[in-house]
Symmetry: C2
DNA sequence: TTGCTTGCAAAGCATTTGCAAGAGC
DNA sequence: GCTCTTGCAAATGCTTTGCAAGCAA
């Protein structure tokens, strides 16, 4: 995928800095709140823009969410899976032993980019 | 999970009938459009209500979606996985050989309800 | 009758878009 | 200077909610 944009801006740096090493899988709102403390005039639209850009650049992953739970972002792009609380939306990393294989003959013409194993349940606090 | 509601209504029957055996993983809007042809006065809120109810009853599954792709529903509740087109949102069933195992010691206190393997890519038409 | 259900309209959020001003290279 | 970026505000779109009327049991 070709990504032309690559200017080094304070907004982009701040978002990257906040995400770097972050294991909390923050939502867009959480990222906006955190970054706003430094860049008080940053707009939500810029956060959306930047997250989309970083995703296209392969620097972060967007996590699929069901129902009312908003979408979240993960700066860890190495293969791993997620435990997701259906109640509060908390996401916790989990590493499953083997990686799932998708044999060519089952791909039904799809060009596969990425895959994720989502495990839904109730977290300790929500039980 | 306790689900008290269980009245047999025309709306509920129509939605169930539309979903029964349906392999297209329809969105709420698509379900509403289809059912509206028979029950012309059904409201979108009722469709949402009913889908939530059917989900609680375990009769259907809600598929997690990333980004702009809206959430979809699957009447097939037997274990299987999905190929999802990141471009148009099309969802196609795929059966992966083994089921993923989640060892007790890795569950981090979660009560696991269900899991799904989502495989993202571009479908034949979108390439 | 009683309580679950429906339809309608309004409210709530999350996300996207258009555009003019500003910043990086 | 040219293009990418940003901020703002408005516009979308999806989903939920409140409530009175309706219907199943």
């Amino acid at each position: 995928m070709i990504v032309k944009q690559q200017h080094r801006t304070a907004q982009r740096e701040a978002i990257l800095a906040f995400l770097d090493g972050n294991k909390t899988h923050p939502s867009v709102g959480e990222i906006y709140d955190a970054v706003s403390k430094q860049l008080t005039t940053i707009s939500l639209a810029t956060v959306y823009n930047t997250l989309l850009l970083l995703k296209k650049q392969g620097l972060i992953r967007e996590l699929p969410a069901a129902g009312r739970l908003g979408t979240r972002f993960d700066p860890d792009v190495t293969p791993h899976d997620h435990l997701i609380c259906s109640e509060c939306g908390t996401v916790v990393d989990i590493k499953l032993s083997g990686n799932v294989e998708v044999p060519e003959e089952r791909r039904q013409g799809f060009d596969i980019n990425e895959m994720s194993v989502n495990i839904y349940g109730l977290c300790l606090l929500c039980k």
